[in-house]
Symmetry: C2
Subunit: 135 residues, 2 copies
Amino acid sequence: MLKLVKYKFPKMIDEENQGVLHVFESDKIPFPIKRIFTVVNASAKSKRGEHAHKACNQLLICLSGEIELFCDDGKNKETFLLESDGDSIGVPSGVWAEQTYNTNNSVLLVICDKPFSESDYIRDYDEFIKWKKIS
Amino acid sequence: MLKLVKYKFPKMIDEENQGVLHVFESDKIPFPIKRIFTVVNASAKSKRGEHAHKACNQLLICLSGEIELFCDDGKNKETFLLESDGDSIGVPSGVWAEQTYNTNNSVLLVICDKPFSESDYIRDYDEFIKWKKIS
C-alpha cells in the first residue's frame, strides 16, 4: 500500500449563495510554496497528469466536484477519491500520478515545493520504472 | 483614479477537453505566499469581500467565469472586470474591496502576504473611512 500523507484544510460556507471558501495557511503546508497551479473546466472523465516528478513534492486539493487520483510508486498502486471537502493528498516526488476529473465542474488546486522545471518531469511510464530502479 | 498594479500569469489550454491550466510561480508574485484562499460555487450576482485590510496585500485572480471587483481607497473608487484570462489585480492594504460573481461558474483565487488575523480586517465602511483619516 502506498503511504501518502493526507492533510485537512478549512472549508467554510457562510451564506449558501456566496459559495464555498477554502483556506490554505502557509504554516499548515509542509513546505515553502514555490508554485501554485489550478485546473478548471476539464470535461467529465478527462485525464491529466500521467507523469512523475524527480524532486518536486505536491499537495493536491479538489475545490469543487470530484477527482480520482491514481498513484504508483513503481511497486504499489492506489486510487484515491478527492472530494471538495478540504481534504488534500500529498504526492511526493518519485510517484507516478494521474487525475481523472469525474465531473464537469471539478476544480483542482496544486501547491508545489519547487518552481517549474521540465527536467524534473518523467512523462514515460517505462522510463519511470527504469528511473525508480536506479534512484 | 486608483493605481492598482496588474499582473499577468500563464493560462494554458493543451487539449480542449482537459480544461484550463493557470500557473503561479512564486518568483512572479510580488511577496512571499503566506495564505491562499479560493471561492467556488458562488451564485451569479452574489457579493463577497466588503472589507479592507490594515496590513495584508492580496492578488486576486479569476480562474473561471467573470468577477467584478470594486475597490475604494477612501478617495477614489473604481470597478474592474476580472476575466479568466490569467490577469490578476493586486489589492494592497488600505483598500476597501467588494467582489461580485457575475456567473455561477466563477472561481476566485486569492494569494496573500499575511496569515489570517481577524484584527487586520475592517468590516464596517464608516470605520474604514475613519481609519483612512488617521492612518
